[in-house]
Structures are given as C-alpha cells and as structure tokens.
C-alpha cells in the first residue's frame, strides 16, 4: 500500500514497519484499508502497544494485600481501609510539552485526570515531576515558564490541588524535556468503575467535547519517534486543553457513577476513539460497532480515519444499558455537555467501524489490543558505565566549604521551588495537612484521623551512571520521603522515561532500571499499580538520562501526628540515622563544582532501609522525633541547611574525622536520615532503634549553620545568608537576572 505521492508506503508514514504491516495483513486475511491502517498504526505504536517494554514489565511486583486494581486499567487502585481506596497513575507528556509547553503540559494534566475519574474516583491531588535543560538558556526558561503555567491553568481551573512533584535541570533534557504528571483520586470500593464494554446491545455513548483535527497522530507520530530538526512541524499533533469542559465532564461522570448508570467508563486519550473503543471491548470480552457519522464534530470535512484517531481532549466513552440512555443524556444536558450514542456492544469480538450504513473498518479486537508485536533487543552496556567508584582524592579538596554550600543551595536542582508551587493552587479541596516544600505531601481524609501521603522521585543522573542502582535508590528515596512525614509506603505508579529502545544501550538501561525497580519494590513491599513507558526521548540521536520516575503513595495513621523537615526548637539533639558512605559519584556537588558526571554511585542497602524507615515512622507516631529529613541532593550539609531554613533555627554539628570533610558534607549516598529529638527522648529513641546505626552529630540552636570536623569549623554561615542563597535563586534564574 503506498501513499498518494507514491514515495513511501502509507504504513511507514504512519510509523509502522514492513513486517508489522505484513503481520496486520495476516491477522486480517487481507490488506487493511486506510481507516484500518490508521487505527492499527496507533494501537501498535510503542506508546499504546508497549512493544519494547511489555516483556520486561511483566516481572514487576504487582500484587499485594492492599491492591484492588493493578496494571491494566486506567489507573491502579489501592485500599486504604474503611471502604475507601486511592486511584493513582502517572503518565508522561514529554514530546507535546517540548513542542508547545503550555498546551502540552495542560493536556497532560487533562489526560491523567480523566484516567482517575474513569475509575470512578474524585481526583484529589496532582504531582508533576519536570525535567529541563540548563536554565541559563532562554529556551529552557521559556519551557519551564510555559509548562508550569500550563499545569497551573488546567489543574487550578479543575479545582484539583497540585501538591507536589519535583524539578531537575540537566543538559541531557535540553531538546527533550520531561513533563510527567501524576494524579490521585479518592473512591469508595463499591464505586470503582472499570473500562469495560459488556452486554450485547448495550450502548456506547461519546460524552463531552466535540471531535476535531487536533492531536492527529499524537501517539504514533509524536510520542513514538525521536525528535529531529522537523520537530516544530509536529505542532499540529499537540492537543489543546479546555479545563472548564473537563471540570463539567468530571462532575457529570461522577453523578452518573452515583446514580449507578454506567456499565463501563473509559477516557479518550492517546489514540482517541480507536484506542478507547477497542480497549473497552477487550476488557469486556466483547465487540463494538461504531458509527462515526454520529460523532459530533467541531469542523467540517473530516475524513473517517481522522474521526477515529483524533485526540481531541475532554471526551469520555460510556457503556450504558439502553434503559439508562435518557438518564445519562439528562445529566449531560444539566452540565451542557454533548452525549451521543455512537455505537453498541456486540458479541463479535471485533471493532467494526461504520460511516452511516457503510462498513469502513472491521478488525479483531484482540489483534488491536493484545497482539501488537513485542521486541527483544540485545542489551549493550554503555561505554560510560564503570564498576569502579572514584577514588577519594580524584578531585582536589576545596579550601572554602562555605562557598561550596552556598553554591549548592543556590543550584537550580536544590534551591527553593516556591516560585513554582505558588503558581499551583495547592490548597483547594482543603485537605492540605502539610504545605509544599517538604519531604512529601499529606492530605487529610475528611471525617477521619487517617490521611494519605504522596511523593514523586526521579534521578536520571544517577541512573545514567548505574541504571539498576539508580532505580533501586529512587524507589528507596520515595519510600524514605513518605516515611519521613510518618506515612507507611503502600504502592507505586511509575513513569519510565528513556531513549530509543531499538538501540542496545538504551534497552540495557531500561532492562537494568526495571530490574532495580523490581528489587526495591519487592524489598520495600510497594507493588507497582501501573504507569507509563515513554521511549524515544531522543533528539538528534542523543538520548536523555534514563529516568524511571516513581510516584508513591502512603498511609498516615493520624494526621495529627505527622512530621516535617523543619528544626523546631533550640537545644534539640541532631541525630544521623543510617550507615551509607557519601560519595562524589553522581552527586550534585560533582556536577556543580567539578562539572562532571562520573564514577559509580553507591548502592542502597534495602534491608537496612526498610528497618530504618519503620523506625522513623514509629518514632514519629510516638512523638519521639521533632523533625525528619532525608539526606539527598547536596548531601548532609544541604539537608541540614534546609531544616535550619524551614525552622529558622541554627545548628552546630560535629563530624567524625577520618574522611575528607567536603565529601562527608556534600557527597551523596542513599540511606541517610537526619532526625532531631528533645534531649530527654534520645535514649528512648536509641532503644527503639535497637541497634540500627543512629548517632548524635550535634544540636540545634544559634543563628548559624556550623559544621565542625575534628574540632575546627569547616562551615559557618548565618542561617539568614543560607536562606537568601536558597530562596530566591530559581526566580532570579527564570527571569534571567542570574
């Protein structure tokens, strides 16, 4: 089959390979027509078909006592007791955002929010992990501003608080920013909806916005290919968001749920009607007949294939028994939304597409949904990886550690994110038990003592040096963040951002990262409830850092007994929990001061990690600690500085001699937590620690951050100066003042 110009075959222009085309012909028993080919090209795209990831992802731990819904639905669902559950999911919207940051990010939010209410859950929180290139470049400032404004515009209008996320800046993301979006929702067990179309003769209603030409080829052309100099020409594949319509759609769908009107509900995302209809039929073990002549359109002259693959936003597909058609339409009329019967459920196991009376497409559902080919690639360990950590003397020891501290605190990867989170409505719904800027976000559950906590974590730089260790560390850090506020980690949703998996080096990174994630999720008992794989994050042949981003949720027993990272009072004992040895390799210190990313990152001790986190949670619940902060980017010194700033309380620390002070203070290693306690509680805390590595390293007080090594102060800076370096840095960089 060739296109009109006769140059390349049509399947190739749609992103399919020759053997995939042959495979489709074999499954149909004939050549597909153009409508069918367009549909197959989406369903068999990497984005929808998980062609390179499926064989590896099946090894991830997915089961657990609290898992009500694992991977495979629109979102995972986690039991939190008392008949309530949390639906959660993370996704990427990287390529759309790189081309059009505002709409790319906005529609990313729109998509993930629909996934959550498709499960029957009311969205209660968004978290957005973002990765950009260096902020010294105007393009990156533009991307950051646009993405943050897009997230804000959509989330704020929907009335869903954006309560967390993270931002990293590395050259690796310069031509390929990462915009990952996570949403969580609250649902009663009995209200959970599934995306299935069941019951022959039941109706398929398209609800919400009209269908237009926006987002044609989003999943195939945009999301499943590398960028090159033509990237800008792909702008028409980016959708445009309308959060007001989505807000109405949300309320209408939840009202249908409350009135028990739905057999199944599915959002229209990547792949539009094609993907939604075939997935609903697949999950229901049924078939669907669609009549595209009934789809309300927003522009004239749309081709049938365009109607089938349009990614116009703010649309849902509902499966309804015929008796409930009028009730569903009544609710939609109340909210001024279109609701149109566009098809019906059949027992054929086929997706049949009609244009009025004429049959224009007829495909087996299983072929579309389950039978996309999978590929195994020979993994090749990239040449930059090494088994050898750097020697302690690899870099010269700097003379002035005060300067290093202030430089690191002002680093775009460490400085205050206030400029960002103030643009997000993080309080709407009035559940915010903690302000942003802490270890993790905590939401109360109205009418209960319990609460839920969320965090997202990713560290591409560490994964670049060692994807397996990096992934283990990222999962452990997410769990540690939750434990530091007092929440018990329950489950994970992941967004796996990688380069082109057809290349051995990238496939190796993916395989190793999945293996690391598997080990850590198993050890910490946080099963994976689903997520998203984003491949082809490459531009001009250069891939981003491999970046498995983890979204994790936890349960808080009592929102009156949570903890923050801020020092509370003068005179509290400062304790360091953990035995990890900080290293230069892969640290912010190495990057910022020595301009390198090299060596081998330390591995996390998962068994010790689990015990440490349990201790921290127990200590918080018993009221034995007054602050808890994970040692992360910028090492121990930056960790202490952040606690001092947050509490406006100074600290005096005495380090044990023996290693280079700069590496002890600014080096990084997963598995260290700084705790503070009233001196009278320290012995009880030690008792609770029962032999875990816990040592007193100083006490809070005074107006300075003082760190002594062998008696001499190697760092001594007033807290006010520390705060100044940390607080205004991001804003100054975005506005080009720095």
């Amino acid at each position: 089959m060739t296109n009109k110009a006769g140059s390349k075959p049509a399947y190739e222009l749609l992103g399919l390979k020759a053997r995939e085309y042959d495979d489709i012909c074999a499954r149909l028993g004939r050549e597909p027509n153009y409508v069918e080919l367009a549909i197959f090209s989406l369903m068999w795209s990497e984005h929808c078909g998980y062609k390179h990831s499926r064989p590896l992802l099946k090894d991830l731990p997915v089961g657990g006592d609290c898992i009500l819904q694992g991977p495979g639905e629109n979102a995972g669902v986690v039991d939190i007791g008392g008949g309530l559950a949390i639906a959660m999911k993370i996704e990427s919207h990287n390529h759309p955002s790189a081309i059009e940051p505002f709409q790319g990010a906005a529609t990313g939010i729109g998509g993930i929010v629909r996934d959550i209410f498709a499960m029957g859950a009311r969205p209660i929180a968004c978290l957005d992990p973002l990765h950009f290139g260096s902020l010294e470049k105007a393009r990156q400032q533009f991307l950051l501003e646009g993405v943050v404004a897009g997230v804000a515009a959509y989330g704020n209008c929907m009335g869903i608080p954006t309560i967390g996320g993270e931002i990293h800046f590395e050259d690796s993301y310069e031509d390929n920013c990462l915009v990952n979006v996570m949403c969580a929702g609250l649902v009663r067990h009995g209200d959970i909806l599934k995306a299935s179309a069941r019951g022959e003769g039941n109706l398929i209603l398209l609800v919400g916005s009209t269908t237009g030409r926006d987002g044609i080829g989003g999943a195939s052309i945009l999301a499943s290919a590398e960028f090159d100099e033509t990237a800008g020409e792909k702008r028409p594949t980016v959708q445009v968001g309308d959060p007001f319509t989505e807000k109405k759609l949300l309320e209408a769908c939840l009202q249908m749920r409350d009135e028990g009107l739905l057999v199944g509900l599915q959002d229209l995302g990547a792949g539009g009607l094609s993907s939604s209809a075939s997935e609903m039929a697949s999950k229901g073990g049924s078939g669907i007949d669609l009549d595209i002549s009934r789809v309300p359109l927003r522009e004239e002259g749309m081709e049938p294939f365009e109607i089938m693959i349009s990614e116009s936003q703010e649309r849902m597909l509902a499966c309804v028994i015929p008796e409930n058609e009028e009730a569903v339409k009544g609710i939609c009329a109340k909210w001024d939304l279109d609701a149109t019967v566009v098809g019906k459920v059949t027992g054929s196991g086929r997706l049949r597409v009609f244009n009025g009376a004429g049959l224009i497409g007829d495909m087996p559902v299983a072929a579309l949904v389950d039978e996309a080919p999978t590929y195994l690639v020979e993994p090749v360990r990239p040449a930059h990886e090494t088994d050898e950590p750097l020697a302690e003397g690899h870099y010269p020891q700097p003379a002035n550690l005060n300067e290093i501290l202030l430089t690191l605190l002002a680093s775009p990867n460490i400085c205050s994110r206030r400029w960002v989170w103030q643009q997000y409505d993080h309080m709407v719904q009035t559940n915010n038990a903690l302000w942003p800027g802490g270890e993790a976000a905590v939401l109360r559950l109205k009418g209960r003592r319990q609460g839920v906590a969320f965090t997202t974590d990713g560290n591409g730089r560490r994964c670049y040096l060692d994807p397996r260790r990096g992934a283990r560390a990222v999962v452990a850090e997410a769990a540690r963040n939750l434990s530091c506020v007092g929440a018990r980690p329950l489950a994970v949703t992941n967004c796996l951002n990688f380069g082109n998996p057809e290349k051995g080096g990238i496939y190796y990174q993916f395989k190793e990262a999945v293996a690391g994630m598997k080990e850590a999720c198993r050890a910490l008992e946080t099963p994976v409830t689903g997520g998203n794989v984003s491949f082809y994050n490459e531009s001009f042949g250069k891939a981003i850092y491999p970046n498995p981003v983890i979204g994790m949720m936890g349960l808080v027993e009592d929102t009156g007994r949570i903890q923050t990272l801020a020092f509370k009072e003068e005179g509290d004992a400062v304790l360091l929990l953990g035995s990890a040895r900080p290293a230069m390799d892969g640290s912010e210190y190495q990057l910022r001061i020595y301009g390198e990313v090299a060596g081998r990152i330390p591995d996390v001790d998962l068994e010790l990690e689990k015990k440490m986190q349990l201790l921290v949670r127990e200590a918080i619940l018993k009221g034995l600690v007054r602050s808890a902060h994970d040692v992360s980017d910028g090492g121990l010194a930056c960790c202490l500085a952040e606690s001092a700033i947050a509490g406006a309380v100074g600290v005096v620390i005495e380090m044990e001699p023996g290693r280079r002070a700069d590496i002890l203070l600014f080096g990084e290693a997963p598995g260290l937590i700084v705790l503070t306690a009233v001196p009278a509680d320290v012995e009880r805390l030690r008792g609770l620690a029962a032999g875990l590595p816990l040592r007193k390293i100083g006490q809070t007080g005074g107006g300075k951050l003082v760190i002594k090594a062998g008696g001499a102060a190697v760092v001594s800076v007033p807290v006010a100066q520390v705060e100044q370096a940390w607080q205004g840095s991001l804003e100054a960089m975005v506005s080009g003042k720095k």
């Binding site: 404004a149 959060p243 997000y424 409505d425 009035t430 302000w435």
Partner: protein, 244 residues
C-alpha cells in the same frame, strides 16, 4: 439539602451558588458545616430560588471557564438575577475570589480586576489587616487585627477610579487590606498589585462583601489555620442578632 433539614429553625441558613466551573463550593459547604449554628445548601446556577436563606456565598473557581474575563459571563446567569434581588432586599452576600470577581462584574460592588501584577497565578498565605470590624462579615475580628488567610488567583489586582477609591475610603468600605506580619500596609506585602493593597470591600449598605482571600480554607488547624472562622462567625452572629 440534608444539612438544612436536619437542623433547627434557629439555624443560620447559607446558600452556596454552584456555577459549572465553581471549585470552592464544596470547601465552603464543608467550612459552614463546622459551625453548629449553621447549615448550607447548594444553589444551581440555572435556578433562581433563594427561599429561606440568610446568606448567599458566591464561591471561588472559574464560573464559566473564565476564558474571557473572570466573572464576565456569570453576571448574566439566572441565579445572579436572584442574588441581585436578594442583596437589594438587604440579604447578606459574600463573594470569595471568583465570587468577588463576579460581584464586581455584576455591579454589586464597585471597581474591576486586572491580572495580577506579576502575571502569574499566586497561591499562598497572606496577612490581612481588618480595616472595618463592624461589618456583618468581620464583627468577630478586632479593628486593625492581622489575620492569615490564603489567596489563590490570577486576577486579584483590584482597581477603581480615584473618585471611587475616595468613596470607598470615606464610607469604610475597604474591609481588609494586604499587610505585613506586623500590620503595616506595604508594597512588599501586596501579592497582586491591587490598588491601596485592597483585599476585600463591601457595598455602601454593608450587606455585600467581596474578598480575594479564601476564609473557607482556614477553618481547621489541621489544614493550616483557623483565622478564616471569624468571617463565618461574624455572619452567624450578625444574623442571630438581627433576629432578636
């Protein structure tokens, strides 16, 4: 509805307007629910019935999407006809954030909103100085008291002409202003560029109040404070007083 039917006759009855893009309606409902002497019910924007209500809340959100100008379409909605009549009869009306914007567009309060000076959405706690503590909405605060209440908006940069401002000043209609923690009204304490640091105003009669900050968000210490309770306590108290 249920909240009302379960409460006694003496209950102060709040009506909370729900536009399709309202998103602080439930928060306002929940906030009212924390007061034993109050009950609330929702008012759909296509309806016009306000029977038996003591106070109408126009909540925060994006009424009809607000892609044009915040509140510009909401002023034409059926419920706003009823609210206008209700206010004309002396009923208490409070507009919070988007509700304030709608009151301005509807002409129930003087002035208009520009985009924030920084051209960005701003969500954070601010300090407010109570400039008039004898309104039905602020009588539980002390004159000059500094309270901490969050803002969350893109268009809160209040503007009114010189004559209008003089009028507001002369009649004590500026109810709350942005200030620093010590109560000083400074430029630095102004989060959005609003004229004279105005955060909230009332009409000449004193029964219609609009403010950008969200008192309903700080009615429970678990979520960051309780300084907003005074607004609801004031309304409940003034209605109870009026009944005696």
């Amino acid at each position: 509805m249920s909240a009302l039917s379960q409460t006694k006759n003496r209950t102060v009855r709040f009506g909370i307007v729900v536009f399709p893009g309202s998103n602080c309606d439930a928060d306002s409902y929940d906030a009212v629910g924390t007061f034993a002497a109050a009950g609330a019910r929702y008012l759909w924007h296509k309806d016009m019935e306000l029977d038996g209500l003591d106070c109408v809340i126009l909540p925060g959100g994006f009424s009809y999407g607000d892609y044009l100008r915040s509140g510009a379409i909401a002023r034409f909605s059926p419920i706003m006809k009823a609210v206008r009549r209700f206010a004309g009869d002396g009923g208490l009306v409070i507009g919070i954030c988007n509700g304030f914007q709608i009151l301005l567009e509807a002409g129930l309060l003087p002035g208009a909103m520009h985009r924030n000076e920084g051209l960005k959405f701003v969500c954070r706690l601010v300090n407010l100085r109570v400039e008039n503590a004898v309104t039905p909405f602020t009588n539980k605060y002390k004159q000059g008291q500094v309270i901490r209440i969050p803002i969350a908006h893109m268009e809160g940069n209040y503007f009114v002409g010189a004559a209008g401002l003089a009028e507001l000043e002369a009649h004590g209609q500026i109810v709350v202003r942005y200030c620093d923690p010590s109560g000083e009204v400074t430029k630095n304490a102004n989060p959005n560029g609003s004229l004279g640091n105005v955060a909230g105003i009332c009409n000449r009669a004193g029964n219609v109040f609009g403010l950008m900050p969200h008192p309903e968000r700080v009615c429970d210490p678990v979520v960051g404070g309780s300084d907003g309770r005074g607004v609801f306590e004031s309304i409940i108290s003034s209605i109870a007083q009026a009944r005696i």
